[in-house]
Amino acid sequence: MRFYAAADEDHKAQKGNIYENRIRLLMSNSVLFYSLAVLIISCAFAVVFLRNIFHAGLFLLGAFLGVAGIYIALFNYFLAAVQALVYSGAIAVLILFGIMLTQRHYRKEDPSHNAFKWIAFVLSFGIAGFLVDSFRSLKPGSIFPVKHLLYQMGMALMQTYAIPFEVISALLLVALLGAFSLAREKEDL
């Protein structure tokens, strides 16, 4: 434990600070954040509005990558990597496969949105505006970056959150089996 902490310390001293300072510089210019925000929001809009479901899936991939960038902006590189690998690499690809498997009976004249679309539009984006407006009073404040983040996350997973961690593993197994049994070809259905 002491050994890893020390090693991490050394690593930080040599390299970490350089990168962090560089990115913090970017952040202070807000360039990274705003470009990521624009990327994410526009991709998300494309996901929900595009008529072509395959294109929507591709834009979903873009939104996931943008969120990975946000994690980098918050100095959680590990989570960014997980986001890129699991969301972009696994979930988005899974969804794209799903789209490709179900497009045979696609009817072009079908509406892509249901009858609620106007009232849902007003209510959803109304509440978005309301939320953003209510957050405006928050001061920028100071930041508290976590020291030895990856080490701490590992310790938390193995100590504080050991039981949720195990439960999640069971959940994944059950989901795997459930998905398999649901999607299997059944003769008598």
């Binding site: 696994a90 179900t102 978005a128 953003v132 957050f135 998905a179 999607a183």
Partner: protein, 103 residues
């Protein structure tokens, strides 16, 4: 200067876009995609709060997204399995056409 406000606003907007998608998209897979967007919005909040606020459980905000991602992966797998099953039986993926349980 970028503060917590910006992250929360981004998260709120992302969440509401996902919500709109969930409420209006007819395609079941699109509904799933919108749900994933909402998950992401929540994760951004976790990490942002952990970064901007100091507390005893500061590490929780960094760890919870991992759990959320795992749950999202399960949800996507099961959801897609359901939609594939629906597609196989009804030749459609539109959620408003799967209404056999109506009263």
């Amino acid at each position: 200067m970028i503060g917590i406000f910006h992250y929360l606003a981004l998260s709120a907007v992302l969440f509401c876009i996902g919500l709109y998608g969930v409420l209006t998209r007819r395609n079941g897979i699109a509904v799933l995609m919108s749900i994933e967007l909402m998950f992401n919005a929540a994760n951004i909040n976790f990490v942002a709060f952990s970064y901007y606020f100091k507390g005893i459980h500061f590490i929780s905000g960094e760890v919870f997204p991992l759990f959320v991602i795992a749950v999202a992966a399960s949800e996507a797998a099961v959801g897609l399995a359901i939609i594939l099953s629906l597609y196989r039986n009804k030749k459609t993926v539109n959620v408003d056409e799967a209404n056999q349980l109506r009263g």
